[in-house]
Every structure is written in C-alpha cells, then in structure tokens.
C-alpha cells in the first residue's frame, strides 16, 4: 500500500484530525489551502527544488557501508541526510514551510525544537528569507544542546528556554502553540515533525518525501531494485515518514525504531495531544506521560498519526531500543565507517545491530537522518 493523502479532515485511517483551540482553526484551514495550491504550483516546486539543490546540497548521497556490513553480516546502505546543510533532514521541511509562509504573507516563524536540529534549520531558513524567528526549547534540552542554542542565536533567532512540565520537546511544543495562538496573524508555526493538527502531518511528510524518492532511485541504480528493509528512527517520525513514502508501494519492509523511553507506538494508547489523535504515552486518566530518552530529538511521548495508522494496518512495524544499545551503535558506525551519527539515527542502527542474525544476508537501507557533532559532548561525558 502507498502513503497517500489523508481525508479532507486530515485522517489517516482512525488517526489524525485537527484538535486545536478555536483561535487556530482558521489558520490551519488557511495552511491546508495554501499548501495544496503551492504543492500544485510548478513555480513553487521549482523554487523549493532549487533551494534544496543549491542551498541544502541535495541530492544527499547513498553510501554503501562495507566495513559495517562485514561486521554485522548484512549489507547496510546509508541515506546521508547528515550531509545536508545544517546537518540533518530537517532542512527539507523547513525550506518548504518557510517558502510557504512567505507565500502566505507571514513574516515570522515560530518553532519548537528538541535536540536543536529543527530549531537550527528553522533559524537558518528565517535568515535566508529575512524573516523573524522564535524557537522554543525545553530547559533540559537547552542544557544538553548548548551549541545548537548558540547556533540559533547566531542565525538571528530568539531562543526561549521552556521551564514548564518535563522541560523537553513536549513542553516546547505547548509553548510554541501558545505563541501561535497569540500571534497567528503574522506568524507561521513551522512545526518540525509529521505531527500536530492537519495539514502538518501530511505536509511535513510531503516535504520530506524527497528523501524516499531519491533513495529509491539510488537503490535502483545500485541494487537494481528496492532494499529488503528500510529502517528509520521515530520520535514524531518525520525522517521515517520521508523515507518510507518513497518505498511504501513496494515490497521493502518498513521499520520504525523508537526509543524505549518514548515508545508511543510500542507502549502508547490512542489519545489526543498537540492537535492530532495518535498513539500516546499517557496515564490511566489521560494525562500525557513524560518521555525519557538519551536523544533529545526523540524525547517525545507521542508519534505522528500516519505512523499510528501504518502500525495499526501493518504498513510498517515499530520496534524500540534502549539507550545502551544506541550508544553502542553510535560508536559502531563511527569506528567502522568514519561517520559519527546523531543519536537519533543511531537508534535505527541499534535495531539493525540487535537483529543482525535475523537480517543476515539482507540489504538494509538506514536513513542516517543527522550528524553526530551535537552529541559528541554528551557521549564523551557518559564515557568518562
């Protein structure tokens, strides 16, 4: 089955929708109309493609990983989103949304960020297009990702440390939504994952579809067809949605890997937070639980609604890995291939490594969604 358009109400099967305060409903509806028009407009697509090529550095390479493959007893190919400008896949979505915001006459971007990758990407796009930018980041994440905070400020963005709740990504989203409620007339909320109210889950996936489309063409050239398995890490699930969308109508098995401490699909139940109905880690009363992961980018108790739909219908399966397995994978890729991955895609490799016997002899495409520079400090601290 393919990954198609949601219903006009923003449903992927039983999941999705648009659960926002009334103030924001017209903005979500306007965004839906604007995105449909832009996405059907060759001039918009052309301008975005030019930026993706000339500014972000696309297409990103597909790297065969012989030493890693030899060690694991299977063939690993890496889609190198870490080589994009700003160091992760996030730039694909942000350039799309920033161009769309400009087209809608908005002059300010607001964003949430976990690890800081989406915040840096949004601040970058805002600088590029001459827009104001405010980024909300949980205080815990500000502490563990200081360099990205500095980068955002260098790029001209205001960074607000969020001190409410768990002081991580979930609370940063709350604060970004509150900002948007107050500033909706001139502000576009540049949401960083395939979550939130319709049209975000669909729109963000479409902006990341380029990952999957490129990878499929690259695999066809290298392998003569699709890989056996496509693996990506899942927090909200944007990089996974992007690469899955290129392969969803084929035979490759799609695997999303969540952190054990933030496994919304693995441990959650259907619930509504941040605009959509999806799997959610929540207590017996419907209060949202705090996620706990070594990776700030995956430290989120929910998951995008399309992933919930894929999980329920068997279009993809979702596994989870522990922080310890992630650290081992982080070191493994660094040592064998000279690629230091972000902790987020190290989750995907951790699953491959754990399942290497079951995967023996097969070809596995890993979405290497970001580079590890931001995490080196943290890992060094853990090793000491």
């Amino acid at each position: 089955m393919g990954m198609t358009e949601p219903t006009p109400e923003g449903r992927f099967g039983d999941f999705g929708g648009c659960y926002v305060p009334e103030t924001l409903v017209p903005a979500c509806q306007e965004l839906d109309r604007a995105f449909r028009a832009a996405w059907a407009d060759a001039a918009f697509r052309g301008r975005l493609n030019d930026l993706l090529r000339d500014y972000a550095g696309r297409p990103s390479p597909l790297t065969d990983c012989p030493r890693l493959s030899a060690e694991l007893g299977l063939r690993v190919l890496c889609k190198r989103e870490d080589l994009n400008h700003t160091g992760s896949h996030k730039i694909n979505n942000v350039l799309g949304q920033a161009l769309l915001a400009e087209r809608m006459g908005k002059t300010r971007l607001v964003a949430e960020t976990g690890a800081g990758q989406h915040g840096v990407a949004t601040a970058t796009a805002a600088a590029l297009l001459g827009m104001d930018c405010t980024v909300y980041m949980g205080e815990v994440d500000v502490g563990r990702q200081e360099l990205n905070v500095f980068r955002m400020r260098l790029l001209g963005a205001e960074v607000h440390a969020v001190t409410t709740g768990s002081r991580t990504l979930k609370d940063a989203i709350n604060e970004a939504l509150r900002d948007w409620v107050a500033t909706v007339e001139r502000t576009h909320y540049c949401l960083g994952s395939v979550m939130g109210p319709h049209p975000y889950p669909w729109m963000v996936r479409e902006f990341h579809r380029v990952i999957g489309d490129e990878a499929r063409a690259q695999c066809a050239e290298l392998l003569g067809g699709d890989p056996d398995v496509v693996v990506a890490c899942v927090g909200g699930g944007s990089n996974a949605a992007g690469i899955f969308s290129g392969f969803a109508d084929g035979d490759a098995e799609l695997v999303g890997v969540e952190p054990a401490g933030g496994a919304a699909v693995g441990r959650g139940t259907p619930g509504v937070v941040h605009g959509s109905l999806s799997y959610l880690m929540q207590d017996e009363f419907g209060q949202v639980l705090e996620a706990e992961s070594i990776s700030a980018g995956l430290d989120y108790p929910g998951v995008g609604p399309e992933h919930a739909h894929l999980a329920r219908t068997g279009g993809a399966r979702y596994e989870n890995v522990t922080d310890g397995e992630v650290l081992a994978a982080f070191e493994l890729l660094s040592r064998t291939e000279g690629i230091i991955p972000a902790l987020e895609p190290a989750h995907a490799l951790a699953w491959i490594s754990r399942e290497r016997e079951a995967l023996a002899g097969r070809t596995v495409l890993l979405n290497l969604s970001g580079r590890g520079d931001k995490d080196v400090d943290l890992v060094m601290g853990l090793q000491e």
């Binding site: 659960y19 009334e22 103030t23 017209p26 509150r178 107050a182 007339e185 605009g275 009363f285 419907g286």
Partner: protein, 265 residues
C-alpha cells in the same frame, strides 16, 4: 437552539439577562487547595455559573497562572473522577460547568465522561482544544446525557464560521476576547468588544467574553456589549497566592458590584 428546550445553564444565564443582569462566571481550577470552598464562596458572592477546571498535563490554551494551578492540582493527586465526585457534594445553587481538554474526555470515553458529568450535577462542558469540526462524537454523547457543550468563538473566525459555532453551541457562546492564551492583561483588548458584537448580531444565546478579563473595570467594559464575562486567571491567582476562598469571594463580590453598577447606571 433547533427547537430544543434550553438546558439549565442556558436557562440560568437567559434568566439573568432577562432581569437586566450581566452574567458573571468565575473559573476555579479543580484540585487546587481550597477549590471547593472557593467555588462555594464564588457562588455566594454572586456568580451566575461557575467553571471548574479539570487539570490536563498539556494545557495549550492556558497561560502561566492556570498552568501553575493545574500543575499544583495534578501534583496533589487531582483526577477527573475524584474532582467530579467532589463536585457532587457542592451546594452552590448555580450551574457548574467543567472546563478541560479533549483527551480527558476521549480517554474516559465520550459516553462515560458525559454520564459522569451529568451524574455529578454538572450542567455544561467546555473542551478547549475540541473545535467544531471534531466535536460531533462528543456533542452527541453530551446531548444524550443532557450536558450543554459550550463552544469557543475566536476573533480569527469568519462570519460564516461564527454562525456555525453559534448553531452548535449550548449553554452560552464563549467569546475569546483576544488573540492569546488565558491570563491577566493590563487593559481590555479592543477585540473583546468586537467579537462580542459580532456574536450578538447572529445569536440569541448568551454571549460571554473570556480570556483577558481580569478586573472589574475590564468586566464592565466588556459587558457594554457582551451578556457577561468569564474570569479565570485573576480568580485562580488569588488561590495560588494564598488568599484562600475568602479572597476569591471578595474578588467575585467586587466584580459583581461593578457589573451591577454598570447595569443600573
């Protein structure tokens, strides 16, 4: 609306309006220390209905004051069932309205949540992140249980959208007074009177302005057009600052006097 007899909440607010009285609806976070006595004090001081907040972990429509109150209540062990059961025992003589977020209702189940509101003597419900388009599964359960679903109407809505909201709203229409989350503001936003006026032109339901109404003067100004006001953060802050139910009672009395004075002058 649609020929149905008005519920208790709507009837009470309409009756007040008929008497030439401006409606006053204070908000109290359930589970906050002293909340039950505060609800009773607010009723005694002249509230026409009272909103009880059921705290939610991620209240995106609320500013710092109501967030803080919700966090404290949750930390003290507040649960939806516990609060509703406590509300059953309140003797206030005015309709009670629950305000919360949709996941609380969704998680308990629409029918079960609606029934437990009705069983607890709650007249109405406001779900701050459940807009009209997503509301049908809830409103059908609420209608069935006799719970009036109050809908929010915001300054960002088109005239057509406001009409659709008013057609589905029960109890009253909650006019969002400004672009922003709940919280006290230094002055009444111009948008408060504008949105109230737009709604008054299209509905006969009571129109109450909330969000950004925090002083007697602001309440008076808003009710030059609106049928009443909802006052939340300014009430809750008094509880957070330790003024207790007495502080809430005297503040509500102050609002009451201002609104009554405005009517008679």
């Amino acid at each position: 609306m649609s020929g149905a007899r008005p519920g208790r909440l709507e009837a009470a607010l309409r009756a007040a309006r008929t008497r030439g009285r401006k409606c006053l609806v204070p908000y109290v976070t359930g589970g906050l220390e002293g909340w039950e006595a505060a609800v009773e004090a607010a009723a005694a001081a002249g509230a026409d209905a009272i909103e009880i907040g059921i705290p939610f972990s991620d209240p995106v429509m609320d500013g710092p004051t109501v967030q803080e109150a919700g966090d404290r209540a949750l930390a003290a062990g507040a649960t939806p069932a516990g609060l509703l059961s406590a509300a059953t025992g309140l003797d206030v003589g005015v309709p009670l309205v629950v305000m919360t977020y949709y996941n609380i209702a969704h998680h308990m189940g629409h029918e079960r949540f609606a029934r437990s509101l009705a069983d607890s003597g709650i007249a109405g419900a406001i779900l701050a992140d459940l807009p009209l388009e997503e509301s049908a599964p809830w409103t059908s359960a609420a209608d069935e249980a006799g719970v009036e679903t109050v809908l929010l109407a915001a300054p960002t809505a088109s005239g057509e959208r406001l009409e659709a909201i008013c057609a589905r709203a029960r109890g009253f229409v909650y006019a969002v007074g400004l672009l922003g989350v709940t919280g006290e503001r230094a002055a009444l936003a111009a948008s408060a009177v504008v949105i109230a006026g737009r709604l008054k032109e299209i509905t006969d339901l009571p129109v109450l302005v909330g969000v950004g109404i925090s002083t007697p003067a602001q309440a008076t100004e808003a009710t030059t057009v609106a049928d009443g006001v909802v006052v939340g953060s300014a009430v809750v802050r008094r509880l957070l600052e330790g003024e207790g139910p007495e502080g809430v009672g005297s503040f509500v009395a102050e609002l009451r006097r201002a609104l009554d004075g405005a009517v008679s002058s």
